[in-house]
């Protein structure tokens, strides 16, 4: 019973949360009010954890809520429920993708959309920048990393690990 309910509730979130990430948060607060799975306070903690651990925030939240409600199998149920609707929708779109791509209308649409996606990426970086570039040293470090990334071109994972180590060493 609890599994059916978990699946159904997270399926709903997966279907309704357009745009992903923190868009799931208001839905999750609603769940905290309706079910004894986790409290609003736990949810706030969890948002902070989700931002300090890898992976999509929405997935982290579903895993946590499911785990609190019904252990590991609850976590699995909630997570599968969350991604199920989008997997179905994306697979349907992807199945017709090659036909869609070749149409003139699609090329018109994408002519407008690509620069907008670029703005979205830049905006995501700016939002993170407001949060993380809190002093001049952070800005200098960021510029230095950008130089290394741009001119040396190692795999991003190497820079991410280096950033983590440097954060600890410098006590950022």
């Amino acid at each position: 019973m609890i599994y059916g309910l978990l699946f159904f509730e997270f399926f709903k979130i997966g279907l309704l949360a357009l745009g992903g990430g923190l868009v799931t948060v208001p839905f999750l607060f609603e769940l905290a009010e309706h079910y004894p799975w986790y409290t609003a306070e736990e949810l706030v903690n969890m948002i902070a954890v989700a931002e300090s651990s890898p992976g999509p925030v929405g997935v982290n939240m579903a895993t946590y809520a499911g785990f609190k409600a019904a252990g590991v199998s609850g976590a699995l149920t909630a997570t599968v429920g969350l991604v199920f609707p989008s997997v179905v929708i994306i697979v349907l779109i992807a199945a017709f993708w090659d036909k869609i791509r070749q149409t003139k209308i699609f090329s018109y649409l994408m002519h407008g959309v690509r620069p907008a996606v670029l703005a979205l990426i830049l905006n995501a970086g700016a939002e993170l920048g407001l949060l993380a570039l809190s002093d001049i040293w952070a800005v200098v470090l960021c510029a230095a990393f950008w130089g290394a990334i741009h001119y040396i071109k190692l795999h991003p994972i190497i820079y991410i690990v280096a950033g983590g180590i440097l954060g600890i060493v410098l006590g950022l």
Partner: protein, 174 residues
């Protein structure tokens, strides 16, 4: 091939900090440059689709690329690979969340990682701008979208849909 899809997205999922768009540098290094499964332009197309469809954008992009490589089985392999690292980490942390959050090493490491992620995103924007902003029209869309997002905190979905409508109206004209 299925294993490769799973492994590539597992790696990406494990090192994606800071949300769906922060994943792009990893997609570019792993899928465009290394495996040559997709191109920069296609990644942008997947993001625009992922932004206008329900669900988590990082997962949507994984599903899409997986399907393109190996149909339904590929979609599932890539999606599971993308999700599994977060799933396992959250399960491991679920009971020690306070300890984890208050751990000084964790806090410092993430402060450092965030700075790197910003630099990575900046570099991606730079490299994608050559392909995404090739005309006056596209420059105008970029500027308008960015202003709307930065000044008004606009919705990403609205941005993509409006830009699509503008593209349609312009009909490919420069």
């Amino acid at each position: 091939m299925l294993w490769q899809l799973f492994a590539a997205f597992f790696k990406i999922g494990l090192f994606t900090f800071g949300g769906g768009y922060a994943m792009i540098p990893l997609l570019q290094a792993e899928l465009v440059e290394r495996k040559k499964w997709t191109s920069e332009e296609e990644i942008m197309d997947y993001y625009s689709i992922g932004q206008c469809t329900p669900g988590i954008i990082a997962v949507n992009v994984a599903t899409f690329i997986g399907y393109k490589q190996k149909r339904l089985a590929g979609a599932i392999a890539a999606t599971v690979g993308m999700i599994l690292p977060s799933f396992m980490i959250i399960l491991a942390l679920a009971n020690i969340i306070r300890l984890y959050m208050e751990n000084a090493y964790v806090t410092h490491a993430f402060a450092g990682i965030r700075i790197v992620v910003i630099a990575l995103i900046a570099d991606v924007v730079l490299s994608m701008s050559r392909k995404a902003v090739g005309s006056l029209f596209q420059g105008a869309v970029f500027a308008a979208a960015l202003l709307y997002l930065l000044l008004f905190g606009g919705s990403p979905t609205v941005v993509v849909l409006t830009a699509a409508a503008a593209g349609l109206l312009a009909g490919g004209r420069k």
